[in-house]
Each structure stands twice: as structure tokens, then as C-alpha cells.
């Protein structure tokens, strides 16, 4: 097990290096460097700029700068945000965590809904429920998340105005709560705020995953070993869930790795609409203020997350599928 993980890690190093290199080159191509904004700031002195230039090695050739940045990155020093004048690591910690809250809730909802829907569709193909869910799946895949988010906000606002229902819209916490509330109450507050954006976020993955699971289940249910299991006299429930579903879920498990970064990246539009303080709004503000270190580091960190996610799904796959060996 441990050698397997180690070997996978070693294989991932080139991808990570190349990805950071791409991020670095893109930023290098951008007009101006990390200090061009600071240089226009009248309060910044020439000495300060000189210090920062040497600190970040901006007076050295590009490849040396890259290795310096990479070295700093590995030590956890992601550079300085000029917009907020604080270390990038401090800056992106909060938003990254917020994005992960949305992603976490979404993943749970996605599996909780997509698996039963997919299995139901496979067990009763072309029934009314199956047709209805595939109709909904088309709907979920076709509607842009930000448009759906706006529609949801509109519906919520109208319900609020007519019934006075106190469902929070937008933001992460309600400002009206007193400061000395218990941790549990605080977590509940965040959860309530995150619920609607997560549901909207998850609509796409439910739509596609339930279709994939349905197709896989249909295919597995026709296999010989399922007939063998039935011939042995196993109950329907056991055949479906223990024998068929386990294999049908493999592609979904393999895609869990893509879940981490895709949902953080894909959470983007929903975060913007609901003014959820996640990574995308921060990145956009960095973009509009030319805050280059923030852009570059977010890119690097989310790539790292993707790679970790891939490793995770490899491990999960190996754990679930007996045909995959650790060696």
C-alpha cells in the first residue's frame, strides 16, 4: 500500500512541475511584472521596490525566478498580494475553505441523489419515473448554473415577500446574529447559507452522474455473474446492491478525483451570484486589480488539489475494485 502511494506520488511530480511552469510562463507573458503596480504607488519608496525586487528575484533571469518561486511555493510562501498587502497564503486560506464547504455539501448531495436515481432508472428502464428523471437530467445539463442561481434567487425573494419565510439569500453568514453564539449555531448558520448554492451547484453533477450510473447498471445487470448470483438464490436486494452497484459505481469513483478541482472551479459562477466568499470572487478581484501572485498561486494550489484528488480516486478505485492490485 505505502509503496503504491509513493510510486503514484513520484509519477505526479512531473505533471505538477509542468503545470506550475505553465502557470509561471503565462504570468510572465502578461504585461508588467509583480511590482509594476507598486511602482505607480506614490507611497512606495525606491528602496522598498529595490528590496522587493531582490526578495522575489525579479532582477534575475526567468528560469531562476521560476525555481525561486517554486522553492518558495513548496515552503508555503506564495508571495505577496499587492491589492491587500498581505501574504497570499493568508489571503487564499479563507476563500479556499469556503469553496470547500460548498464542494463538500455538493458532493454529499450529489451521491445521495444520483445513486438512487440512477439505480431506479436501471431497475425500471423506460418507466415513467425513468423518463421523468432523464427529462430532468437534460434540464439540469442545459441550464447555466448562474442563470439557475438567479432564477432561484428570484423565486426565493418572491416567496420571502409573500410568506415572510426567513431563508437567507447570498453571503456566508447573517450579520444580524449576535457575536457570542455557540459554534454549533454558527455552523448551522453557514450551512443554511450554503444550502441553496450547493444544491444549484450539484444539479449538473447529479444530472450527468445519474445517467452514467443508470447506463453502467443496465450493462452490469446483463452480465453473466449477475445471473450466477441469482441462480445461487440470492435476493434481489443483495444482487442489486452488493454485486451490480459495486461495479457500476467504478467510473463514478474514478471521477471523484476530478470532483475536487472541478467543483472549486465550477463553483465559480454560483459563488459570484450568491456573493459567497469563495475562490472565484477572490480570483476575479485579483484579475481586475492585476494582482498577479494571487492568480498564479491559486492556479498552482488548485492544480495541486487536482493531483491530490486524482491520487485519492486511484486509491479508492484500488480499494473497491479487487481486479486492481497495489503492485
Amino acid at each position: 500500500m505505502v509503496p503504491f502511494i509513493l510510486r503514484r506520488l513520484v509519477q505526479l511530480i512531473p505533471t505538477f512541475l509542468l503545470a506550475t511552469l505553465v502557470a509561471f510562463v503565462i504570468i510572465q507573458l502578461a504585461p508588467g511584472d509583480f511590482l509594476s503596480q507598486l511602482k505607480e504607488n506614490p507611497r512606495a519608496t525606491a528602496v522598498q521596490i529595490q528590496q522587493l525586487t531582490t526578495l522575489y528575484g525579479l532582477d534575475r533571469p526567468g528560469w531562476q525566478q521560476y525555481f525561486q518561486w517554486l522553492f518558495n511555493l513548496l515552503r508555503g510562501d506564495l508571495g505577496l498580494s499587492f491589492q491587500y498587502n498581505q501574504p497570499v497564503l493568508q489571503l487564499i486560506k479563507g476563500p479556499a475553505l469556503n469553496s470547500l464547504i460548498l464542494v463538500g455539501i455538493s458532493v454529499v448531495i450529489s451521491f445521495a441523489v444520483a445513486i438512487p436515481v440512477g439505480v431506479y432508472g436501471a431497475l425500471r428502464p423506460y418507466s415513467f419515473g425513468d423518463r421523468f428523471s432523464s427529462f430532468l437530467a437534460y434540464f439540469g445539463l442545459g441550464i447555466p448554473s448562474f442563470f439557475f442561481a438567479l432564477l432561484a434567487i428570484y423565486a426565493l425573494l418572491v416567496t420571502q415577500q409573500t410568506t415572510g419565510w426567513d431563508m437567507p439569500i447570498g453571503g456566508k453568514t447573517s450579520g444580524s446574529l449576535p457575536a457570542d453564539i455557540s459554534a454549533g449555531r454558527h455552523a448551522w448558520d453557514i450551512f443554511v447559507h450554503a444550502l441553496v448554492p450547493s444544491i444549484i451547484l450539484v444539479l449538473r453533477s447529479i444530472s450527468s452522474d445519474s445517467r452514467v450510473i443508470r447506463g453502467q447498471m443496465l450493462e452490469t445487470m446483463g452480465q453473466d455473474y449477475i445471473r450466477t448470483a441469482r441462480a445461487k438464490g440470492l435476493g434481489d436486494r443483495q444482487v442489486t446492491y452488493k454485486h451490480a452497484l459495486k461495479i457500476a459505481l467504478l467510473p463514478i469513483i474514478a471521477s471523484i478525483g476530478g470532483f475536487l478541482p472541478a467543483l472549486i472551479g465550477g463553483a465559480g459562477f454560483v459563488e459570484v451570484v450568491f456573493s459567497w466568499p469563495g475562490l472565484t470572487p477572490m480570483l476575479l478581484s485579483a484579475f481586475f486589480n492585476n494582482d498577479l501572485y494571487v492568480l498564479m498561486s491559486t492556479l498552482a494550489v488548485s492544480t495541486l488539489l487536482y493531483i491530490i484528488g486524482n491520487l485519492l480516486s486511484d486509491l479508492l478505485l484500488a480499494a473497491v475494485d479487487p481486479r486492481i492490485r497495489y503492485t
Binding site: Y138, G268, F287
Partner: protein, 379 residues
Amino acid sequence: MTTTPTPARPAEPRARSQSQWSVVRRQFVRNPLARFGMVILGLLYLTALLAGFLGPYGITEYSTSDRISWAPPTHIHIRDAQGQLRSPFIYGVKRVVNNETFRDEYVENKDVVCPINFLTSRETASYRFLGFIPSTFKLFGVGEGCKIYLWGSDNLGRDQFSRIMYGSQISLTIGILATVISVVLGLVFGGIAGYFGGLPDSLIMRFVEVLSAIPGLFLLITLRALFPINANPLLVFYIVVILLGVIGWGGLARVVRGQLLSARELDYVQAAQALGASDTRVVARHMLPNTATFIIISLSIAIPGYILEESGLSFIGIGIVEPYASWGSLLKLAQDGGFESLTGRPWVLIPGIFIFLAVLGWQFVGDGLRDAFDPRRRS
């Protein structure tokens, strides 16, 4: 590997042989969802083609003297004050301040009556019919003194209906252009990787892996940072197209490579090589046509994805910029007003319906094509 030729059966007098394409066409037409998708897409692309004719106003047209911001959709009447039926007409609007909310509101001014003229000409709003015939003909319009806002107006008092019509041109073309770019890149790089193998193969595939390792939206934002934020609007359009195409070719390249790797060992490829065909010729003329089916399907599946991405980018303000409009940038207005404004002017949500319809239409068509090409799914 050799295949035994199927023995020629004596042809029935009436039976006509079917080519692959006619089989596919028949299967496609028999699929109700695919037909439905084709109808939606047909209507939408027709809209884009006739945008200047359908929209009563130009894309940037607004009045500097009496600006009617956020006007609600104009009510079209067919009964006059006496209750008599007559041809459709609208009333003029006047601005009143709501004493409770202190917001401007527009009410109908029953003194001003403007009949709706069909197939009318407006000299001030000339456009090019079908893109090349100069014309001033509009499907409908109203005389001076009135403004017809079928779907309301925006903050500058521009007609949202006209802007959606023009927006369809950009939203629908970007999807296709970006797909073409990514397919070309995917074919070229996938072709090189699959045919030559070795070092070019591992380099390209590594790069594809890296491209897919960086979250798409973040990569787009970062790449967009390469270009000035307030570049020329037309340049921004091309930047968006190219960025979308450039980051999207990885998946296709991977599959093309896989197909070519297996095709490389086949007899007809070796025969072509033995005849002295150049590498380019072997790949382009003999191997890539084999992947045509796959490319057509992935085209129709990629286009809605790009339409969604473009509208998303424009929605968050890094895509299409003024004076041009796409459905995404029109929907941005809904977001910019803040939550509370939505209940006051829900018609700003209309552009989203168009994005939804376009994506849905392409999905139906894409699924229909996939089923039609797949012999196992034929009915």
C-alpha cells in the same frame, strides 16, 4: 488482418443500397428529441441571421434626451378605450415617481397612441440584411413619440428584445468558432502524437494532462489577464474565441491519438506507407477520415459546452464587452442590479432562457447523432 468479402447477393429489383450517411440520416430523423433539437436550433440560428430585421432598434441605439431606463415590457393593446377591436397599438409612457418606494415607474400615457407598423422602414437604424445587403426594413416598429420594448429596456434605455436578437449572433457563433479551433488543434496534435509515437507523443500527452490538471475557469481567468482588460471590443471577441478553443482540445487529442495508435498497425496504412505516401498524406488522407464519425459527434457535444462557457465568462465580466452583447453579458445586468432589483424587473432574466434553449437544442442534436451513428442503438 483480412476479412472475407461478403458474397454478393443477387440484388432485389426494388431494394436500394443504403450508404452509411443515408442510414444515419434516417436514424437521426426518426429520433423525436433530435428533431425537436433541430427545430430549436433552426429557429435560434434564423434569429441570429435575421437579427437586424427582427429587432426594432439597433444594438447600441438609445435616446440621449429621454432615457427610459428599466422600462417594463410594453403592453400591446388590441382594444382601444371604447373597447373596439383594432390593429395592435401601444400607448406612450410617462414617468411617475412612486411615493412609497421613491423609484421611477412608467405608466401608460393614454393620450399618445402609436399603432404598430409591420414591415416598416426606419432610416435611422440601417443594418445589413443577412450580413451583406444594406437595408432599413424592420419586421415591426412604432412611430415617433413611442418606444416599443417587447422585453423591457436596460439601464441605458436600450431595447432588450433587439439586444437579445443581436446577442444571439455572438453567442451562437462563438460556440461554433471555438469548437472549430479546438477540433483543428485536437486533430493536429492528436494526429502527431498517435502517428509518430515516441517523444512527440509523450510530450503532447503530458501537456494535455497538464491542461486538464489546471481548473478550466481559473486558467481562463489567468489567460485573459494576458490581455488588457479594456481592449478593443472586437479584439476581445476573438480573444475569447481563441482562449476557449485553445484550452479545450485536450480530450479530443487524447481520443484521436488512441484511434490512430490502433489504426497505425492496420494493413491499409502500411500499404499507403509502402506506396511511398508522405507522413502528412497518410495521416490526413488515410487515417483521420476514419475518425470522422467520432469528430462529428464530439463537435455537436462540444458546441453547447462552449456556449455555456462563453456566457459564463461574459456573465462574470471577462468575456464579451460593450457595445457588443451576448446572452451572457445581457444576463450580467440582472446580477449587477443586486438581489432586490430582480423582483422589480424580472424581465432581465429573459436572456438566460435563450442560453438554455441553445444548449438544450445542441444536446438533443448531439445525442441524436451519437445514437444514429451507433449501430447498436439502431432501431
